[in-house]
């Protein structure tokens, strides 16, 4: 496997503009001769599909939800970063780039991250033109707020519903192209396989989730925008249907999977309340702008939070990180929450929570001002926990939120399978070992609006594609292998449900491949995952059959893929004998308990090649070295 990053030469500021000049174009009247499939209709998918259709390509979109508007991007609360520097606080493209690459603990490509920062401003322009109702000041101009990991206010927001508003903007653009006849839209269709012919991506296999039929779709390029794989942990902030299947099936067809162990654990989520828990709810990171994080200094302190005086409260983030305080990046905040709860200082019934307290902010600004900023989040919290955060501190705890790893792509966002492009959370490209807040929306839209539409043209203009139909042997083989996978799961008829298996898998992952990892724990995790996977195929019970709407069958094949991915994540975490960003190996910490990188040996992207599962997952590591020409690698410090 050869992994060429294809990063253009030249100064950092000029790489993308020079590349745009060099990219080959497809003539307008030829574009309609090319079919492009876009899988997933979140921010990356909807923006790529609408932009490609505007250019004239014949586009088809597929999503598992009943409407393209419901993709999980919709749940993003906090905001989207851009280097507009409207507040005049010294922001710039360079600074956004630098914060992002530093926030990622220097495990991403300089050129990709710089381009992301460059595109950020165009995204805001585009969204505003679509009618996305960002927050505004009284003068009628756009408002900004600050967010974790940055010392400038560069986050644009739409109350606590920024993801929803940006997605609706992209979805509406997409529906405009559906109306114009340039997009054929297929909701409730799940991608089950990638069809590769002559080494190139030439189509997909889907299952119609309503009637169960297996369908074949031919194309000249496939854009995968199917999101992240956080649900491997069972409990996460991801939507219940988010899954790795489309990406994993591409991996099985030869696409390298990069940095699978890089998982972001978000610090401010509502804690687990019982075994029946089906998902975790995020409280936007923006709450840390005004909320103060603390635990009682004395682990035995059983007083109610409001009865605990100032001197007995341990504001651990403010004490340890005086310059960033409660606004340290997510990985740092999560790790510290784990440390204080490991030390017995956790609060609530389970002891697995810390306080996020608005008492001082309410005293300073008044209840109304706080309600204007966070009202909907406070309501959401109260609705779930039955506690009133205006009166008593919130209880929060970290939860799995985002996966920085994903399918490997080059600078053009093309995987190592020519013709297979990967955008948004599904690729590995921009966030390294840790993503900063308000940058997932930015990346999804940068990829979809401003990168893939150009780079796909360059691919199609140059590539020699033989004419194929869905009768080709490769389509038949992929379609029958999809059916066989489903039949196999249905035929086991064991005693344990898919959810029970998934929950057990999630527990292994959370305990041993979660916030902190050790060599010993990872080795145990690998053994446990293998044993549980074997049991799954001997003892799972999937109800019904494959000929109708059957959600538990969908879950079953997604969990089957999670079982393979889980092992790869542990293998990757074990290989990376260093700590970086969210990947904390207990053996490698600074004296202060921060992630201790080993740049000499691990300054690379790990890209894994699938080799089948035979009791164990066979996988081969390929390394893409990361070279830093423009930034100096430093120990991250937020003190």
């Amino acid at each position: 496997m050869k992994l060429e990053s294809n990063v253009p030469s030249g100064p950092l500021e000029e790489k993308w503009s020079r590349h745009l000049k060099d990219l080959k174009l497809v003539a307008p009247n030829n574009k309609r001769k090319y079919k492009v499939i876009v899988v997933g209709t979140g921010l990356a998918g909807a923006s790529a599909a609408s932009s490609l259709a505007e250019l004239g390509y014949e586009v088809s979109t597929f999503c598992i939800q009943d409407s393209a508007r419901r993709a999980h991007s919709i749940a993003a609360q906090g905001g989207i970063n851009a280097a507009k520097n409207y507040p005049n606080d010294g922001d710039s493209v360079w600074r956004l780039f630098y914060d992002t690459i530093k926030g990622g603990d220097y495990r991403s490509r300089e050129a990709n991250v710089y381009r992301l920062a460059q595109n950020s401003n165009s995204i805001i322009d585009q969204a505003v033109a679509q009618g996305v109702p960002f927050a505004r000041e009284y003068g009628g101009l756009l408002d900004n707020r600050s967010f974790g990991g940055a010392q400038v206010s560069r986050t644009f927001y739409a109350r606590g519903q920024t993801g929803q508003q940006l997605l609706l903007g992209a979805y509406q653009s997409m529906m405009r192209q559906v109306h114009a006849g340039n997009i054929k839209n297929y909701p409730r269709h799940e991608m089950l396989d990638l069809v590769v012919i002559d080494g190139k991506a030439r189509g997909i296999i889907t299952r119609n989730l309503v009637d169960g039929s297996i369908n074949r779709w031919q194309a000249d390029a496939v854009v995968l925008c199917t999101g992240g794989y956080g649900n491997v942990f069972y409990l996460s902030t991801n939507a219940k249907n988010s899954n790795v299947t489309a990406a994993w099936r591409c991996h099985k067809r030869g696409a390298a999977f990069a940095n699978p162990c890089m998982v972001q654990i978000h610090p401010t989520c509502i804690p687990v309340s019982g075994d029946y828990q089906s998902k975790l709810t995020l409280m936007s990171e923006s709450l840390r702008n005004d909320g103060r994080v603390w635990v009682p200094r004395d682990p035995e302190d059983s007083r109610k939070p409001n009865d605990i005086p100032e001197e007995d409260r341990y504001y651990y983030l403010e004490e340890k990180y005086p310059s960033f305080g409660n606004l340290v990046p997510r990985d740092v905040a999560s790790r510290n929450a784990k440390m204080v709860t490991d030390d017995g200082m956790g609060v609530g019934e389970t002891g697995l929570a810390v306080y996020l307290d608005f008492r001082d902010a309410i005293k300073r600004e008044g209840k109304e001002a706080i309600a204007a900023k966070y009202g909907n989040l406070f309501d959401m919290y109260q609705n779930i926990t039955d506690d009133n955060p205006y009166e008593t501190p919130m209880r929060i705890f970290p939860a799995v939120h985002y996966t920085m790893g994903g399918l490997w792509v080059d600078y053009n966002l093309m995987s190592n399978i020519p013709g297979l492009f990967v955008a948004g959370e599904a690729n590995f490209s921009d966030h390294g070992a840790n993503r900063l807040g308000a940058s997932a929306l930015m990346q999804g839209l940068s990829d979809g609006y401003f990168i893939v539409p150009y780079t796909i043209g360059n691919y199609l203009a140059d590539v020699d594609l033989t004419k194929v139909t869905t009768e080709h042997d490769a389509f038949s083989e992929a379609a029958s292998s999809s059916s066989e996978t489903l039949d196999k799961l249905l035929s086991v008829n064991g005693d344990k449900t898919v959810v029970e298996f998934h929950r057990e898998l999630g527990k292994i992952m959370w305990d041993k491949v979660g916030i902190s990892r050790s060599k010993e724990g990872l080795e145990e995790a690998i053994e446990e995952i293998r044993a549980l996977r074997d049991e799954f195929y001997e003892n799972v019970r999937v109800p019904g059959d494959a000929t109708y709407y059957n959600k538990y069958l969908e879950f079953a094949h997604r969990v089957a893929d999670f079982f393979e991915l889980a092992e790869l994540m542990a293998v990757d975490a074990l290989d990376r004998d260093e700590s970086c960003g969210c990947h904390l190996r207990e053996e490698y910490q600074t004296e202060e308990g921060e992630a201790l990188r080993n740049d000499d040996e691990f300054s690379y992207v790990s890209a894994w090649e699938y080799g089948g599962v035979n009791g164990k997952l066979n996988t081969t590591l390929h390394k893409e070295p990361l070279e830093f020409e423009f930034v100096e690698l430093k120990q991250r410090s937020y003190k």
Binding site: G140, G274, P543
Partner: protein, 248 residues
């Protein structure tokens, strides 16, 4: 923590053409902290273990924002709690021994897929007819070139928060989609960006709504009462005004 026994009457229907009926279930050990959908998850785990067909229902984010869930609970879309989607409803709103009736949202324009799952693609087609600003990628001017009064922006936002769940249709005696359609029109028509296409948009979306088989609005305001994000019925007044202006 108290545990409850809940009696359920759930609509079961194999597909759009099959006949449906209510089926009774008794569920023990329901925690007050469970969400309504987690309670149904537990029921389904039991059914699967007993070798029976689980109840199909739509959901995804379980945070009240994706609009997938759309259960009608004891005759009310999304259940008893004001401005709360079914996925955010918790069992502490019920008592031990309660009987709860769970149905799909019923409307001609929302054919049943299976059990509680319906096809809401009619909503997509209403948006497709004109629920957008026609701006191509890359053609946008600098974002701060067009100031928008804060009040206007905030009002547009209130309408833009619609999650497209269809509760308004389920609650309306006429199965009207006026609140859904009106909300998108009010969002876009009120902003400077949406003004140039206001007339065209208003006509196209209203006509598509009618073509989909949704009924007319006769001001019952049931839609506003059940809307999980609190869209105001004034959206419908604005829709009528914009439609009439566009027609004459």
């Amino acid at each position: 923590m108290s545990e409850m026994t809940i009696n359920l009457k759930i609509w079961r229907q194999k597909n759009a053409k099959a006949e449906g009926k209510f089926q009774d279930y008794k569920l023990n050990g329901v925690s007050e902290h469970m969400s309504f959908l987690e309670m149904l998850d537990v029921l389904n785990e039991n059914l699967i273990k007993e070798g029976k067909d689980p109840v199909e229902f739509d959901y995804d984010c379980r945070e009240g924002i994706c609009g997938s869930c759309n259960l009608v609970i004891n005759g009310r879309a999304h259940g008893p709690k004001h401005m709360t989607a079914a996925c955010q409803l918790h069992m502490r709103n019920y008592s031990d021994g309660d009987t709860i009736v769970v149905e799909p949202p019923r409307a001609k324009a929302f054919p049943i897929v299976r059990d509680l799952v319906v096809d809401r693609s009619a909503f997509d087609r209403i948006i497709e007819a004109g629920g957008y600003v026609s701006v191509k990628t890359g053609a946008a001017p600098e974002a701060n070139l067009i100031p928008v009064e804060k009040d206007t922006a905030d009002e547009a936002f209130d309408y833009a928060t619609c999650i497209g769940c269809g509760a308004c249709v389920a609650a309306c005696p006429n199965s009207s989609a006026s609140l859904f359609t009106g909300a998108k029109l009010a969002h876009l028509n009120s902003l400077p960006q949406g003004k140039p296409e206001r007339d065209k948009r208003s006509i196209a979306m209203v006509e598509q709504m009618e073509a989909e088989g949704f009924g007319d609005c006769s001001n019952h305001a049931e839609c506003e009462a059940v809307c999980p994000v609190g869209i105001s019925i004034s959206a419908i007044a604005e829709m009528r005004r914009d439609y009439m202006k566009a027609m004459f």
